[in-house]
């Protein structure tokens, strides 16, 4: 510990302005602050500050994602590990390059994007595609808008959207048969995608035939085909509840998404197994992952409390519409991106209402 601190202290002068490594100062600062709390002080009142910082705030999301990450290792083998690493490295590189060019600090928001991104990809996807996707996601989804805090769209979803539109075939054919038993695929490095005949995610099967629903226990546990982190409903609900408990995710968005999606599904589904279908749609596909971890991204969502309800409802309704009334059988991604698009205008309305609510205060 002392050794690390001394080492960093010795290296610091090399990153001063004008020195050879000067431009890499943001990277050094990020590593330095990652290891040891900075000594910076509050210059202006208040003279003491709350212990919460952005690092802690973002790490709460990562903690909440851990159950789903572990589930992805269990079901799809430790191929997930290189995917996560590639995602962190490629996306991190973009983040560092932009920080260096802008002479700004490296933002922690990327830590979440880097983990979320591989979890919303088919687990058999080639690694170069993971890298490409995350680079596009971070670059187009975040950096060109000005970096963390200024992005309009969820960067992970922008990357996934790009991959889906550009490499639809690969994205739809890179599923891995989930493992089972006590160890699952924890000790396997699975690259072989399942054969074309059995390549059907629960939602794909349900879209073809509304009576062919994957059993609920399987959806809860997670041994179905699907993206790395989206299959295990239990892990996602556990993580989502954690996130709500930490107060990092807004319950308003979560509740309104769930309610609106349920209501819309009731309206849209037909057949005599309506109740079963609703439960199925809640648990299958990316709904839970999206609801708990994507819609609740505070930056790309609205900032007003009322706006959060509308935003969630919009996403829930759009998801149900896309899933049930279009040839696309999974709708969460497009619904959230559409929601992101409407968030500023929703805010406009609710900020105006908020101001109206204050009109009697003098």
């Amino acid at each position: 510990m002392k050794f690390m601190a001394n080492l960093l202290d010795k290296m610091r002068p090399a990153f001063e302005k004008g020195r050879f490594l000067g431009p890499m100062k943001p990277l050094f600062d990020a590593i330095d602050a990652f290891m040891f709390n900075p000594l910076s002080q509050a210059k202006l009142a208040p003279h003491a500050r709350d212990p919460l910082d952005v690092k802690r705030y973002m790490s709460m999301v990562i903690i909440a994602l851990l159950p789903a990450t572990f589930a992805s290792f269990y079901f799809f083998g430790w191929r997930m590990l290189p995917m996560i690493m590639v995602s962190y490295m490629a996306g991190g590189a973009v983040e560092v390059i932009f920080a260096v060019i802008r002479k700004e600090e490296i933002n922690e928001g990327f830590l979440v994007t880097g983990l979320l991104f591989p979890l919303i990809l088919p687990p058999g996807l080639p690694l170069w595609m993971v890298a490409l996707g995350v680079v596009v996601g971070v670059l187009v989804g975040k950096e060109i808008f000005g970096g963390t805090g200024r992005n309009l769209f969820n960067p992970a979803l922008v990357g996934r959207c790009f991959l889906l539109l550009s490499y639809g075939g690969e994205m739809g054919g890179a599923w891995i048969e989930p493992g089972g038993g006590f160890f699952g695929r924890l000790f396997q490095y699975e690259t072989v995608a399942v054969d074309a005949v059995s390549q059907a995610t629960p939602l794909y099967k349900a879209a073809a035939d509304s009576t062919d629903l994957t059993p609920m226990t399987q959806l809860l546990f997670g041994n179905t085909l699907g993206c790395g982190g989206e299959t295990s409903a239990i892990a996602l609900i556990g993580g989502g509840v954690m996130l709500l408990m930490f107060g990092v995710a807004s319950w308003r968005v979560v509740v309104s998404t769930i309610v609106a999606f349920g209501v819309m599904t009731v309206v849209l589904v037909d057949g005599d197994n309506v109740a079963e279908q609703i439960v199925f749609h809640y648990l299958a596909g990316g709904f839970l992952l999206g609801t708990f971890f994507m819609t609740t991204d505070p930056v790309s969502g609205p900032i007003t409390s009322g706006g959060k309800f509308v935003y969630g409802a919009l996403i829930g309704i759009a998801t149900a519409l896309i899933r049930l009334k279009t040839p696309l059988f999974e709708g969460m991604m497009f619904a959230i991106l559409a929601g992101n698009m409407f968030a500023p205008i929703i805010d406009e309305v609710f900020i105006a209402l908020h101001v109206r609510g204050l009109r009697n205060e003098k």
Binding site: M1, M4, A5, A33, M35, F36, N37, P38, L39, S40, Q41, A42, K43, L44, A45, P46, H47, A48, R49, D50, P51, L52, D53, V54, K55, R56, Y57, S59, M60, E105, N107, E108, G109, G146, G147, T148, G149, R150, G247, V248, S250, P298, G301, I303, T304, S305, V310, D347, E348, V349, I351, A352, V355, R356, G357, L358, R359, N360, E361, K362
Partner: protein
Amino acid sequence: MKPRGGYNVNLIGAPSLDVEKLAPPEMLCIPLHGRKLEFSELCVAEGDTVTPGQALATAPLSFSVPLVAPCGGTVSLSKLDGHIVMENLNCPAQPASDPETPAHVPYDSGKAAEKRRKLVDLGAWRYVSNARTQRVADPQGVPDAVIVSTVHLEPFVAHGGAICKNKVGELVRGLEHLQLLLEYQEIHLVLPDVENEFARQIQDRIRGHAWLKLSQVPLQMRYPFDNQTLLARHLGLFTEGDETVWFIPAAGIIAFDKALTYSRTCTTNIISLAGPMVEEPKHIEVQIGHPIDRILSGRLTRDEDIRVINGGILTGTHVTDTQTGIDAECSGLTVLETPVVREMFGWLRPGGDRRSFSKCFTSFFKGSFEENLSTSLRGEVRPCVVCGQCVSVCPAGIMPNAIHKYLYSDELEQAQRLRTDLCVECGLCSYVCPSKIDLYDELVRAKVQIAEELGEPDQPQESEEDQQVTEESNKEEQA
């Protein structure tokens, strides 16, 4: 208005209610520039000899409230920039209170104007502020209501309990004096508990002698509900937008009694000396101008790596030069340590030892406990991540994060539309911000800028906007 937001920062080193009276020092350094009072018009010249009670300077922007000499002595203006330094002091010994002082004030309403003049001249008027602007009230003005408060919640400023200790008589007489200045306007007395011994004593003594409204307003003891603007809003005194409400802290009422019953000058302050770095946190009674380093010497646990704050940790100002003296508005000195040790992986620790407004630390399960805070920023400055902490802590009900966004893009009109004027300057938004954005400073500056550049918002425009909003919200509902 419903109380909302607020948060108690629970700092160790709360001052005990003991009040130590400090002997006058050999020299006084009286600051001319305070937070609200700017004594920019000097009444004395270099080398003048003044008598106790003489006006040293006046504050032209605050109705010419004078800065009263606490002691006699020789004046020097050049020794310390922005200060009046007084040497060769000759401080009058404060006589013990006259045993024949009547318990009540004789009724003589005709002399209200004369009394107000006396309060100004003897230095007691500086306590009376306009609850809306939080600045000194007009001594000639007529308020619509008066709030007298004994509650001070910021860590740490002088505690009402220490200021009023054994001073029920003075407080009651002061209230009676106050009432004789008024024309039957309501006086609202704010007490931490309306049923305790102290409140009962005041009620018993004052019955039949003054009109005092002791209504019970359920108000939690949560910072910053003691704020004068918020109190006026909570008590429903601001309804039209043009009411004048006076706010007088308990120290001011005691000063009223001192000035009007005994005709003595009010040049001492009871201040708290507290914080984690103070050996024995307590209250002290000092002359205005008492050099801060003399007050602190021998009372701190260490002399280096500390920050001395004039006022509380949330809204106080950093005392960079401890050679200066206590200013007229000072209500406490808080001493914090500055961080020296870098903690490894501090952000990863469970955090049972650090209290937070958020729920991201295990301390959430422990309830409230006193903790040692340093001046550390506890994080790095980042762009706003719209976490909403500032909105949920804001006692004024405004959205600091949205205002920050507009101020960042220089849209002052939008900041005005979002009611930056409602900010009560409590500092909590900056305190809780995980991105460590100085929202408090931004809001305070924006308020001034809006008042200077934009003035009052146009009424008709606002109503038009309202109409638009209704239409928009209707559309939203239909959608």
